[in-house]
Symmetry: C2
Subunit: 332 residues, 2 copies
């Protein structure tokens, strides 16, 4: 019998279609492996990108020259532009404003043929520290309400370049998915005076069936009502609303669990394309008692079609308990 499950935060229902259930090996995806050998993001080609905004340069050295461990540059084809004012305007019923924002790329390694799953934990931590630093800087710009950190890995997950990288887009508006989570979390807090995410983590750690990993203050858990097969959330056990308030030690913990999770996912699913997206408290919200940052990782294994686009219901052929079991069992 299929099962309908409700996400306890946003109230989105999903169909766990057990009769369509599949084993990890049933998902045929092209493994993500580099086909070209060098690109504009590679070391030695610093002049092919916009100038660097931030970089890891352990031996100091001049900006936009070799010798870096990571680089942050403006996106050459930005979805939003850094210059200008918002100028909100109406057009009859409709509302619009200028597409002002920031769109940056974090080049995660000078090497082309690698990925977050293969990089040493210190290098992954440096990437997370770069996210933090850019968020703290963008926060100073009064035009921006939020910054979404995300990653597209593999062509099927929307990546146009192979070289390991993630992106940040700062927006003048809190994205609708985040504001729905915020509103629902605040409603729960109003009722219970507890953070719904803290409650969820406590319940998952007690139940164990959807737990994947647990280390250094962080958990990787298969959510109760996942939209996608093998969808996984990484979040701190302790209440933390804003990612950019993390200490360096905490970010080393995130780096450890993220790398270990990605290696397990690669073993179980054969290096699938994937996305991750960071949900954190908006810039002007301060220390929210009701919200809790979390990183959502979604391997790209299924197609989203008319039913999902029309209903917001997702059909997921893999119960999260099965996904978590497979990922737990794949310890090195």
């Amino acid at each position: 019998m299929p099962e309908l499950r409700k996400d306890p935060v946003v109230g989105r229902w999903v169909i766990i279609a057990t009769e369509r259930a599949r084993r990890p090996s049933d998902f045929v995806t092209e493994p993500v492996r580099p086909r070209t050998t060098a690109c504009a993001f590679c070391e030695g080609r610093e002049d092919q990108t916009p100038p660097e905004i931030l970089a890891g340069r352990p031996r100091e050295g001049k900006p936009n020259t070799p010798g870096w461990t990571y680089r942050v540059v403006a996106n050459k084809f930005p979805a939003l532009r850094i210059e200008g004012e918002l100028e909100p305007a109406g057009e009859g019923l409709f509302d619009k404003m200028n597409g002002v924002g920031a769109h940056e790329v974090v080049i995660e390694s000078p090497q082309h043929a690698t990925s977050l799953a293969e990089l040493p934990v210190d290098t992954v931590a440096d990437v997370l520290l770069a996210f933090r630093e850019r968020m703290l800087d963008l926060k100073k710009d009064p035009r921006f309400a939020y910054v979404l950190v995300f990653k597209n890995h593999g062509e099927a997950a929307g990546a146009s370049l192979e070289h390991p990288h993630s992106q940040l887009i700062a927006t003048p508006i809190i994205p609708i998915m985040v504001s729905e989570e915020l509103a629902a979390s605040a409603q729960y807090y109003g009722l219970k005076e507890r953070c719904v995410w803290c409650d969820m983590v406590r319940q998952e750690r007690r139940a164990g069936v959807r737990m994947i990993l647990e280390a250094q203050g962080f958990v990787a858990v298969a959510p109760f009502a996942p939209r996608f097969p093998f969808e996984t959330w990484i979040l701190p056990w302790r209440h933390r609303a804003a990612f950019e308030d993390s200490t360096e030690e905490e970010l080393r913990g995130v780096a450890g669990i993220l790398g270990e999770f990605l290696r397990r996912m690669n073993r179980v699913l054969g290096e699938p394309p994937f996305n991750f997206m960071l949900h954190t408290a908006p810039f002007r919200e301060g220390q929210l008692e009701s919200f809790h940052w979390h990183l959502e990782v979604i391997p790209k294994l299924t197609r989203v079609a008319g039913f999902e686009w029309g209903s917001g219901f997702f059909i997921n052929p893999v119960p999260p308990e099965d996904a978590a079991e497979a990922l737990r069992a794949s310890a090195p």
Copy 2:
């Protein structure tokens, strides 16, 4: 300069990324053309599907034999099952219920190598009449709150079979996307005592720039804040909340505009994969003054990636005014 635009109903913002703007010919999609010549949905293979629930049989004839113009059968691999009770249950924080529902397939033609764009208007009208008849029948089941009618056309749009078909899924819950539209439409009605969809159609007909087609009481319009390039909505000019209350004459009008729109889309975009999804008033809502049925058509031209999944913001490289102009210009 990119532009941020807000959907006037659900408040979703999209980024019209004019600097990434593209012409129709820049979207490389595989044209959807049948590769196999026959399948379980073809005439003469009626024993290979579940028994028919409804069929067009102009020369009468026995069920599940040749001689039909369309057939409705249960989905062989249903996402939801028709038997059983909902039995809602809790699991700590979480809510679940049995996956009870209906999942039916409308086989639109006995021919394999055709599509809604090529079928005569009377045949398309018969398909729409079949939707109506199945909705009216499923409405009698007190377990169901909504039925989503949708179509996946082409593999990239999620179709697993080439033979022209659409689907219905009846759910025990109003899908979150529909309930968000309902709530927002009711709020607008509360303020203005007018239907927001009626207001939108009036404004679009006056402005003209996003109008694609207009005939027999229906419009095809590029929405002001489309998620996807060439996204198009088909809806009646006059206020109509529930699709299943349409008269036969009205459905002939829908068939005419839908077929004509699909032919233009095929000419402009080279027979792209696409989805359509029908949004209509829920079964138990009666004659809503605030809601207006509409059919959303989305050609599958771009990939949805981390930014969209994480934010609910969509980046659309084609302004709807340009899409509408290209579709208007492609008159036969």
